[in-house]
């Protein structure tokens, strides 16, 4: 059952002039959230902009006793709503509905989990990495960004026992170019008897490329899609994604809020996924 709380902003950490991490006081949602789930945040108190926006839960915040006390979200300025959330100050309240959506299913050892993140697509992986650490599953994060200063929270993943493989387009940190290059090499080098599941979130071209690599190497691959959403509850049918349940089946639209945001990459009709 989703909860709607008027969450107090505990802190808004500006990471750059585009990225911020918004910490929200929302213990009930924090206690209920599963890896990869999202919340719907209302960026204004009035009617403009009108709708809420979906955000992956980034971290689950805990108090001194270790009990869930709130959540954070990783926000990147892209439009009106995300700009308002970038500017919001401590003490403000934000309507926060969640947790929502189909979560990641974390694999257990001896399987390995390889997370692949591009830019703000890092957002759903802290909760997944935390679960993987609890399960003792070996985990790797392939993480790409434009430049070194936009690779955030790498140390957090390392503290969660995640092996990190980094790439920047300008070569300022890690491999030069896209993160799909080191991922492709690692898949090539992995043994046939290894069980690896890929988890992907990032720009559509990146997810499409990773889905192709996963198919070539016959690895399971879950993608977390970010679509424009109206309600997050399955009511409006705006966030649909074209899917095929079988390769020969006719494609049909499914709602990414309730059937996703996490999908088996083989279901997605990638040619038409536009944003």
């Amino acid at each position: 059952m989703p909860l709607d709380v008027n969450a107090v902003v505990l802190e808004n950490r500006r990471l750059s002039d585009a990225y911020s991490v918004l910490l929200l006081d929302a213990p009930a949602i924090a206690a209920a959230v599963q890896p990869g789930q999202f919340v719907m945040l209302k960026p204004s108190h009035g009617t403009d902009p009108l709708l809420r926006r979906p955000f992956s839960v980034f971290e689950v915040l805990r108090n001194a006793d270790g009990a869930p006390s709130g959540i954070s979200i990783l926000n990147k300025k892209a439009g009106v709503g995300t700009s308002l959330l970038y500017d919001v100050e401590r003490g403000a309240t934000i309507a926060c509905l969640g947790p929502l959506g189909r979560p990641f299913e974390a694999v257990r050892p001896p399987s390995e989990a390889w997370m692949v993140a591009g830019g703000v697509g890092l957002a759903p992986f802290v909760t997944l990495a935390t679960r993987l650490q609890q399960l003792g599953t070996p985990a790797t994060l392939f993480y790409g960004a434009r430049t070194a200063s936009e690779l955030y929270y790498v140390d957090l993943f390392e503290r969660l026992g995640v092996h990190t493989v980094l790439a920047t387009e300008d070569g300022t940190r890690g491999t030069t170019g896209r993160v799909t290059a080191p991922l492709g090499e690692a898949l090539q080098a992995s043994g046939d008897d290894a069980s690896i599941r890929l988890y992907v979130c990032g720009p559509t071209p990146m997810m499409r490329a990773v889905a192709r690599l996963a198919a070539e190497h016959e690895r399971a691959c879950d993608v977390s899609l970010e679509q424009v959403m109206g309600c997050g509850m399955g009511g409006c049918y705006s966030c649909v994604v074209l899917t095929r349940d079988q390769p020969s089946a006719a494609p049909h639209f499914v709602r990414s809020c309730v059937d996703g945001p996490v999908f088996d990459s083989r279901r997605i009709v990638w040619e038409v996924l536009s944003h």
Binding site: M1, P2, T47, L50, V228, C231, M233, Y237, V240, V258
Partner: protein, 314 residues
């Protein structure tokens, strides 16, 4: 003491005037975890054709000032799957179900009405003759007086369920369509559906919706919808289900006073799916403050005596 919020739409008795609007509430079951469906006056389910439909490609919505455009294209599971898969659950949840039906021909509306009249758990039929987002059928009936009359009278002949055509605002004189519906034997009218509208990305010079045009809803349209309900109240004796941008109890009351007997709430449910108890509490509060016992008595009580006087003397 709580006031009596019950209202009547013809023979259909509603425990309160709040109905979840078609197209904004899925098939109702999506909200069962969050909302007590039995606490609503009614649940208008997503528009159904005889067959399944895929709808339009995304992007299907875009925000506009205090509103949104949608062009979903009536994606849906079709009436047979609805009756088999959704209606039993809605019955178990004790929802009063208003089924919104849409056809490309009068025969299809008649067939849908027959099927739903035989199904258990349908409170009323809402005839979607006003969806702006599909080329075939629907709005072609809603934009023609003879078309509206023809589809309403054809459905009227085959069902004992309340028949409620949903009117489009995309006509010159919506009241004349309410009159056509009344003459054809409708039990009520619901209005307004969305306003045909569009938005353009000037950087790319491309439309923001894949369908190019869509329907505008949300608070932006509320004053126009209130005016249209008011005009229809002058024109017909039929019960009216008013809608268009309702988000608060005050908005509900505005429609009732303008002449609605009940209301539908759509876009606001996207913003706040848990708004229903707040709306009911707000209505109760108003009733107490104004010493009213029955909300049904509010319908059409707009006092224009001073305004008429001002007009005469000007």
């Amino acid at each position: 003491m709580t006031s009596d919020l019950s209202v009547s739409i013809g023979a259909w008795r509603l425990t309160n005037p709040l109905i979840a609007a078609s197209g904004c509430f899925g098939y109702g079951v999506e909200y069962a975890d969050a909302v007590d469906l039995a606490s609503l006056g009614g649940v208008a389910v997503k528009g159904l054709f005889l067959k399944e439909r895929e709808g339009h490609p995304p992007p299907r919505i875009v925000e506009t000032p205090s509103g949104m455009l949608n062009a979903i294209g009536l994606q849906g599971i079709g009436v047979h799957r609805f009756v088999a898969e959704k209606l039993p659950e809605l019955r178990a949840l004790r929802a009063a179900v208003l089924v919104n039906i849409c056809g490309t021909t009068i025969d299809e509306y008649v067939e849908l009405a027959r099927i739903l009249s035989d199904a258990e758990g349908v409170a009323a039929l809402e005839l979607n003759i006003s969806c702006p987002n599909i080329k075939e059928g629907g709005i072609t009936f809603g934009c023609s007086l003879t078309g509206t009359h023809a589809v309403v009278s054809a459905v009227r002949k085959v069902t004992r369920l309340p028949v409620i055509p949903k009117l489009t605002p995309n006509v010159t004189d919506v009241a004349s369509f309410a009159r056509a519906a009344e003459e054809a034997g409708a039990d009520a009218v619901s209005l307004v559906n969305t306003f045909l509208a569009m938005a353009i990305d000037v950087e790319t010079r491309r439309p923001r919706l894949s369908n190019i045009v869509g329907g505008l809803s949300g608070p932006a349209i509320r004053p126009i919808a209130v005016r249209m309900v008011y005009e229809c109240r002058q024109a017909v004796r039929l019960p009216i289900i008013g809608m268009g941008g309702i988000a608060t109890a005050s908005d509900v009351l505005e429609f009732l006073i303008a002449g609605a007997n009940a209301v539908q709430v759509g876009t606001a449910n996207f913003v706040d799916p848990l708004l229903w108890p707040k709306l009911l509490a707000g209505l109760q509060d108003y009733m107490q403050r104004h010493g009213l016992t029955r909300i049904a008595e509010l319908t059409g009580t707009l006092d224009t005596s001073r305004e008429e006087h001002a007009w005469i003397s000007s």
